[in-house]
Amino acid sequence: MSKDGASDFFTTKLEDMVNWARKHSLFPLPFGTSCCGIELMSTLASGYDMARFGAEVVRFSPRQSDLLIVAGIVNLKMAPVLRNIYDQMADPKWVISMGACASSGGIFNVYSVTQGIDTVVPVDVYVPGCPPAPEGLLNGLLRLKEMIAHGETHSQRRERALKESGA
């Protein structure tokens, strides 16, 4: 907070409001590669209905989406593609790593598998399970919303750091 405090006070409130808006309009890009993709479909379909949490409008173009859900294995052939897609998304952007394969390689500690996608892109929420049940993914989504509201995600922290450094 600067010495007079007036404008800073206003900025923080605006940021809160923007974050509130952001957390209620998530546009997921489903990066479904294997088994977890089927559970992601379950989450989107009628039984669990992700629309209840404001994240049902699935966008397949990275330019139109702000939430990357990596559902399933990312192997070494796929990792550069994932990085490309992440780079193409506009800021602010969030990443959910769904399932054991994406989070850590899971049971596949072999020559062809990335041992966790956090070696490729920054991850905000890890959802454990092989594959996680839809309830797990929904819980991860709610956790992400909390993080967005508090400005704790990688993307928002990066944004803040840039602002503070005056760039």
Binding site: L76, A79, S112
Partner: protein, 186 residues
Amino acid sequence: MNIQKPVSSIYGNWKEKFSSQWASVLEALKNQFPEAIEEVLLPESHPVDIPTFFVSKAGSLAVLRELKEVHGFSFLTDYTASDEGGQKRFHLIIHLMNLSSKARIRMKIQLSEQETFPTLIPLWEGANWAEREIFDMFGIRFDGHPDLRRILMDVRWEGHPLRKDYPLRGYQVFLTPEPIDPELFK
């Protein structure tokens, strides 16, 4: 061995059903290609579920053609390889099925590490990718294959993962996506 015990409740008893057909086919092959057939392992005397015979590299294409066109084994079920070590390091393994009687038969070809093998695409077009996979995983080259590229791994990958000397965790990292060869679309 245990495999000789008929496991009829789990799987149809192949040995009773097909043994006469297997015997007649193998007899005919032995008469026609006496120098090509190296060794025959029968379910009666060896721990295999279907007759497995080793064929020399030179005679293998003729034997396959005979099996396909005369004996009716026209369905290429599986085409793979295994790394056995030793002088003749690789075994090419071909599973064939007879579409009318549904009998199956297994044929093996022994190759040393540097040896190549003629492609089976003239007999079965589906052998194309199977051969690419064998090349990718074991490094066996196929003569006359139109497009012998890696199939599962990145084209820049070094080594062949399913060889016994390749480590289970031999990662190779690439920072850019796999390049496409424009020649493919000419």
